[in-house]
């Protein structure tokens, strides 16, 4: 299960902010000009005392460390630039007494290890001067870690946007229920699509809305179809019924149930939040979901509107990315390219929407068209992947 599913929607208020501690910096003078041969790996200690001991006389280039947690509790270890605080290496979840290997490729400069014991303040190790060239090939990018504090405004902004869309979603599914109640199944199909696309733009990928998502947009159980799965409710059940020519009376209970489930999501939403851990993941998981279920046609229960869904998913990706722009701008050189890639993908997908609003079925695309579309989405999701890594919540180093 992806982490998004676990963290998707947590009840309660904003999590406590990481307490910042006093940092003790010890600068060690480099004693000798004499170069010692680099060991295969520097044995480095990470403890309450002696953080970062063992790294000496380094020259620019690849640094390999065997870092041992000498404390009695879990530890996280950063390698950071003293001047900028940019982090080049993050060894997470280092158990007491354990040793793990890490590498960084760094140019000349002043660096130090920072040891972050679980539940205790960070401890900065001695400053170490790396000598040699100012530029190295394939250098490891150093960026400031993103903290929960950094992410809270972004997650609030994203949550507020979702909340603002829920009334629209409610109106869409209510209209759908009304259509079915009145027996206008043609209009019901159109309103089904409007509502489904609204929902698909909200970024509910990989269970981000938990049980509510299962009820609203669940997929049939293994070995079942949306039509014959007795446990299935929501958009895909309605899709299967509407497009298989089921009578209105059979559809109506499911349409009413969807209205009620959306109302439940809406009622619950102000009490929950988008977890800051989750928002970075959301940016690429929406499209991972689209690749797995829409561009394969797997989620199609008869409407052949996978391309419309992909379009909505691209909207959703852009909306998830937007609140992170300020965080990403100094940390992700490919941000502009990523945004351009989303836009280009959207333009390509929307070329399959006719003037009357109907969408070309995925199944009607030629091999070359499918390949071009898959390639565009693949490239986009590859560009989005670093967003989740960068926005992984980390502790401040000081």
């Amino acid at each position: 299960m992806r982490r998004a599913a676990q963290y998707g929607m947590l009840a309660g208020g904003i999590a406590a902010v990481v307490t910042l501690g006093v940092v003790c910096t010890v600068t060690v003078r480099q004693g000798s000009e004499a170069r010692v041969a680099h060991p295969d790996a520097y044995p480095v200690t990470a403890g309450i005392s002696g953080c970062g001991r063992g790294w000496s006389d380094p020259a620019a280039g690849t640094q390999t460390f065997d870092v041992t947690n000498t404390s009695i509790a879990g530890m996280e270890v950063y390698l950071e630039s003293v001047a900028s605080g940019d982090v080049y290496l993050d060894l997470e979840a280092l158990g007491a007494g354990s040793t793990t290997r890490g590498r960084a490729i760094i140019p000349a400069g002043r660096y130090r290890f920072v040891c972050l014991p679980a539940d205790e303040d960070p401890i900065a190790g001695p400053t170490v001067t790396v000598t040699g060239v100012r530029r190295v090939a394939d250098a490891t990018p150093g960026i400031p870690p993103v903290t929960e504090n950094d992410l809270i405004p972004a997650s609030k902004q994203y949550g507020a946007w979702i909340e603002s869309r829920l009334p629209v979603l409610q109106a869409d599914v209510d209209a759908l229920a009304d259509d079915v109640a009145s027996g206008d199944l043609g209009k019901a199909k159109a309103d089904w699509l409007t509502g489904h696309l609204e929902y698909e733009s909200l970024g509910a990928a990989y269970g981000a809305f938990g049980d509510a998502d299962e009820a609203i947009n669940g997929m049939p159980a293994s070995g079942r179809t949306a039509l014959d799965d007795p446990g299935l409710t929501g958009f895909h059940k309605l899709e299967a019924l509407l497009w298989s020519g089921a009578p209105a009376a059979e559809i109506a209970p499911f349409a009413d149930r969807l209205s009620a489930d959306v109302a439940g999501l809406r009622a619950n939403f102000p009490n929950v939040r988008i977890d800051p851990l989750d928002i970075g993941l959301r940016a690429h998981e929406i499209l991972e979901n689209a690749l797995q279920f829409e561009l394969t046609g797997a989620a199609d229960a008869g409407s052949h509107t996978n391309l419309a869904t992909v379009d909505a998913n691209l909207n959703g990706s852009a909306e998830a990315l937007a609140p992170l722009r300020g965080i990403l701008k100094p940390r992700y050189p490919q941000l502009a390219k990523t945004e351009a890639s989303i836009a280009a993908a959207q333009q390509l997908v929307e070329s399959y929407r006719a003037a009357d609003g109907t969408w070309t079925p995925l199944q009607s695309l030629t091999t070359a068209q499918r390949e071009a579309l898959d390639a565009r989405i693949d490239a986009t999701v590859e560009l989005l992947a670093p967003v989740a890594a960068i926005c992984d919540v980390r502790r401040a180093a000081s």
Binding site: D90, R103, D378, A389
Partner: protein
């Protein structure tokens, strides 16, 4: 087939009708995969653990069991590795369609493939990206990527030379979309493609790793169209490896028999109708040939050996004793021993005229699951390299049309490609002569 079978048309016998029926209905395929086509006995097989593009070791010869730190085959050179390179135990053939939207993007794509192939074939430590991205390497081969004898051979299909990239005037003269031969059952979704990657290595995880790496680096520029994985069997018990019909396959490699042979049989040269950039490349034919192994296993040994023209156990021509014995057709002019339509005789009658038609074969067995009837999908990824597609592969293939063996095989996929000239140095890149 027995000599009597040659008279099928005039004198159908019980049991033959069925095969004739299958033949007509299924259109069982033809290919030149099976037996030797050599006028010159090959040099003794040499282990492939030494990095070399030596011409002394037939490509069908499997690498001796390599250690994890087997030295790398050189990436840079006038010709690509993976052609004269002795066949590594594992190979995959992956055809891509280009999605690059311009010649500039295609150039960028070729540079990216070059950069990844250069790293992967040499091995080494992957990049370190700290906290700025997911790990760039899949980790499938551990923290330090071993070269493991990996070769990455890049070939282009005829479709690259359509109007998309302005390359129409630069197409290798002989390159075209693979035709349907009379007994083919080609699935076009498993044929052709703009770019073919032939990845070969001593171990299958190395190939999986390389393909994932290259695919990740090239997303947006190309999409997988079809793929077939294969393996080279170890010698059983000695000599040339066997195919899945149980016969030694690739006994001789005339294209490697002497140092000058590749220049006559493998490498395409610029000049005449060929554009300048093709110098040092090679026409690369891939034919995915299903073997109807259940049917084959119900055929008598005598009939099997007559169809091939060799002993199954020893690999010797029926006129000889040992695998590498010359078939001496001059002593068997009317086909009393090796039938006139035996596979090895049709493929190469050892006449001086047919010597120039010999190609460099570099095939892989495949074992890919089952068909809808529960029959095993076994076969051969027949691959060969040709100086001149028409003079060599196509000419031989046409001679094999309706050979008796055709009833037991069914070509389903593959294509014609042109293996690019080598990447000559650190600053060079694949297809630089075509695109620069």
């Amino acid at each position: 087939m027995s000599p009597q079978r040659g008279a099928d048309a005039e004198r159908p016998a019980a049991g033959l009708g069925r095969r004739g029926f299958l033949h007509g209905l299924v259109g069982a395929g033809v290919a030149a995969p099976l037996a030797a086509a050599a006028a010159v006995a090959p040099a003794a097989a040499t282990p492939a653990s030494a990095p070399s593009s030596s011409t002394s070791s037939p490509p069908g010869t499997p690498a001796s069991t390599p250690s994890a730190d087997a030295p790398a085959y050189p990436f840079h050179g006038a010709h690509q590795a993976g052609i004269l390179t002795p066949a590594q135990r594992n190979g995959t053939f992956v055809a891509f369609d280009l999605t690059a939207s311009s010649r500039a993007e295609l150039t960028e794509l070729m540079k990216t493939i070059t950069e990844r192939a250069r790293f992967l074939t040499a091995g080494g430590l992957p990049a370190e990206v700290g906290i700025a991205a997911p790990p760039p390497d899949s980790g499938v081969l551990g923290p330090r990527v071993p070269s493991d004898g990996l070769t990455v051979t890049v070939s282009l299909g005829a479709s690259v030379f359509d109007d998309r990239y302005g390359l129409a005037g630069l197409k290798p003269h002989r390159l075209r979309t693979m035709e349907d031969f009379p007994n083919d059952a080609l699935d076009r979704a498993a044929c052709d493609g703009d770019v073919l990657l032939q990845l070969c290595a001593h171990h299958p995880d190395t190939i999986t790793h390389a393909l994932r790496d290259i695919a990740k680096a090239t997303r947006g520029g190309m999409q997988v169209r079809w793929r077939k994985d294969g393996f080279v069997s170890p010698p059983r018990p000695s000599g040339t490896p066997r195919n899945l019909m149980g016969f030694k396959d690739g006994t001789s490699s005339p294209a490697l028999a002497e140092p000058s042979a590749p220049d006559r049989l493998v490498w395409t040269h610029a000049g005449g109708p060929e554009p300048r950039w093709v110098e040092g490349g090679s026409y690369h034919v891939v034919r995915v040939i299903r073997m109807l192994v259940e049917f084959w296993d119900r055929v008598s040994l005598h009939e099997q050996e007559n169809m091939i023209g060799r002993r199954r156990d020893s690999g010797a021509p029926l006129t000889g004793t040992r695998e590498h014995d010359d078939p001496r057709y001059e002593t068997d002019p009317t086909g009393d021993v090796i039938q006139m339509d035996a596979h090895i005789r049709l493929a190469n009658n050892r006449s001086p005229q047919q010597a120039e038609q010999q190609m460099l074969r570099r095939s892989y067995n495949y074992d890919s699951g089952v068909d809808t009837n529960g029959n095993l999908d076994n076969g051969l990824v027949f691959a060969c390299f040709n100086q001149d597609l028409e003079r060599q592969f196509v000419t031989v293939q046409k001679r094999l049309i309706d050979e008796p063996l055709a009833d037991y095989i069914s070509p389903t996929g593959g294509g014609y490609f042109f293996a690019l000239p080598g990447v000559r140095h650190q600053a060079d890149w694949f297809a630089s002569g075509l695109l620069a």
